[in-house]
Amino acid sequence: MTPDDIEAIWLTLKLATVTTCLLLLIATPLAWWLATAMTRYKHVVSALVALPLVLPPSVLGFYLLLLLGPEGWVGRLTAALHLGTLPFTFPGLVAGSVLFSLPFAVQPIQGAFEAIGKRPLEVAATLRANAWDRFASVALPLARPGFITAIILSFAHTVGEFGVVLMLGGNIQGETRVLSVAIYNHAEAMEYGAANLLAGGMVFFSFAVLLLLYLLGGKFWKVAR
């Protein structure tokens, strides 16, 4: 394995870790809102969250490129804040990955919150727990299986992402060249041995993740609907 390949592996793990952490911060309140809100808008939001499940990654990547680029309004905003533009940078990849993996984080957590039902939270309220306390002492621990599923899926899904990365300009070594892109490069350059090593590693990794999920109770398929 070349040092470039090892760098790609590290970059991939870094991307997946940062993405998963951000996703937990974003998906938890979103899932809670989707699980508890009584408004009709939540169906709209649910559909939006699920969109990356059905869209080709290249579509998502394409619009992200436009949005984050110098002419997009997010791009103008980041430029005005002297942050530069996000495409072709690691933060740009993170932004794309977060969007791309959002349903894989939101849906298991939402399902777990919904499975708790109202009763345990009502009980906690009658035992003097305020809303935050109820969330932290009852909802979060009871939704643990959903969180575990969400973490594993978000991480694994980010590791396996290709289309969004490519569209957002991911082939800069040490910055945006993640594993899937490195494999693509090797294959294009007819370096089948190197490609095989990385691709085989991915197969093994993905299998291990799925096996872990099933050992944890196979909750994903029930929850992801």
Partner: protein, 353 residues
């Protein structure tokens, strides 16, 4: 200002709750009615779990009035749900401590609650799933009491339990009835629980309160639906007066008379509650002779009402009110009328501690 004063109005899915009652600020008040009469909804409004229009005052505390609405966690109450609803991610001990740690004004004595409910052996258990239904409900009641409530709300705590678990919890509830100083609202559709545990009765039907009052007086009213129930009957507060060791009997005295019952363990002077079912009381015009029935009480007929096609309910004053259910034919054969002096023969008495 002592007492509990509640007025609520809530419309939901075609059901209208429009209930108000005023009951004393101590003792057990039963909210009694058929299923679907809105008892649980009313209890949830009292707890603040439903947001109804109205007002609620509990022993001088204003929990709701007009726009002001104390959220559930600010109302110092204990709520026991129909199913025990213990937190599955916490041990028995942690469940019990949940409200104890969060109590606003911690006044409860932990060991007493643990003793009343027989929790000392359960507290060791890690997993609440290993508890039986009755044990779970006892822990749930303990958990509610340990939050130092100023009022305890029980929503049919026995209805989800089998017969054996019920028999296990009823003595605990009777114990609480004797020991607790805070008011208790007890939702039930079982008249025997009312007769055993309540001091006060609020009767509900189709979302409204149709009657409310002190227990024995309300149970003796023939115009209320309670009189139509199969196990309609009166409740008499009595005192242990005498033990007869030869025949293993005990004499209970009440205002206006006495009853002989199978020997009880209580000391002389102990208070007991006797429940006499209407179907266990027959009526004679003269003192019956040559009868095996030991309890014959002089009585005055206060009221007679038809009960179905063949029966009548009779309200008898024996010093306290008794109910008797006899056939219409017997009424006519004996010529029973309002104001007559007769003899009530009591076939059986159920006792509550």
């Amino acid at each position: 200002m002592n007492g509990i004063s509640a007025r609520f109005r809530l419309e939901r899915d075609g059901f209208l709750l429009d209930a108000s009652f005023d009951v004393p600020g101590k003792g057990v008040t039963a909210l009694f009615g058929p299923s679907g009469s809105g008892k649980t909804t009313l209890l949830r409004c009292i707890a603040g779990l439903e947001r109804a229009e109205g007002s609620l005052f509990v022993n001088g505390m204003r929990w709701q009035e007009g726009k002001s609405f104390a959220p559930v966690h600010r109302r110092e109450l204990g709520y026991v749900f129909q199913e025990a609803s213990l937190f599955p991610h916490l041990s028995v001990q942690k469940n019990l401590e949940y409200g104890y740690r969060r109590a606003i004004d911690r006044q409860v004595q932990k060991d007493k609650v643990i003793e009343w409910l027989g929790l000392s052996r359960l507290i060791e258990r890690r997993d609440v799933a290993s508890l039986s239904g009755g044990e779970r409900q006892r822990v749930a009641i303990g958990r509610a009491l340990l939050s130092s409530p100023r009022m305890l709300l029980l929503d049919e705590p026995l209805s989800a339990l089998d017969m054996r678990s019920r028999q296990e919890i009823l003595p605990c509830l009777e114990r609480l009835h004797r020991e607790l100083e805070i008011p208790v609202l007890y939702v039930t559709h079982a008249l025997d629980e009312v007769a055993r545990l309540a001091d006060h009765l609020v009767l509900m039907e189709e979302g409204r309160v149709i009657a409310s009052g002190e227990l024995s007086g309300t149970l003796a009213r023939l115009d209320l639906p309670t009189a139509h129930l199969d196990d309609a009957g009166a409740v008499i507060e009595a005192v242990v007066a005498e033990h007869d060791d030869v025949y293993a009997l005990t004499r209970l005295d009440f205002h206006g008379g006495s009853l002989w019952v199978g020997k009880v363990e209580e000391q002389k002077g102990a208070k007991l509650r006797a429940r006499v079912l209407a179907r266990d009381v027959s009526i004679a015009l003269e003192v019956p002779r040559g009868t095996s029935i030991a309890n014959i009480l002089g009585a005055r007929i206060m009221e007679i009402r038809d009960e179905g096609p063949d029966k009548v309910n009779v309200c008898l004053d024996v010093g306290q009110m008794l109910l008797s259910r006899i056939t219409r034919r017997s009424r006519d054969l004996l010529g029973l009328k309002h104001g007559m002096t007769v003899y009530a023969q009591v076939k059986s008495v159920a006792l509550t501690r």
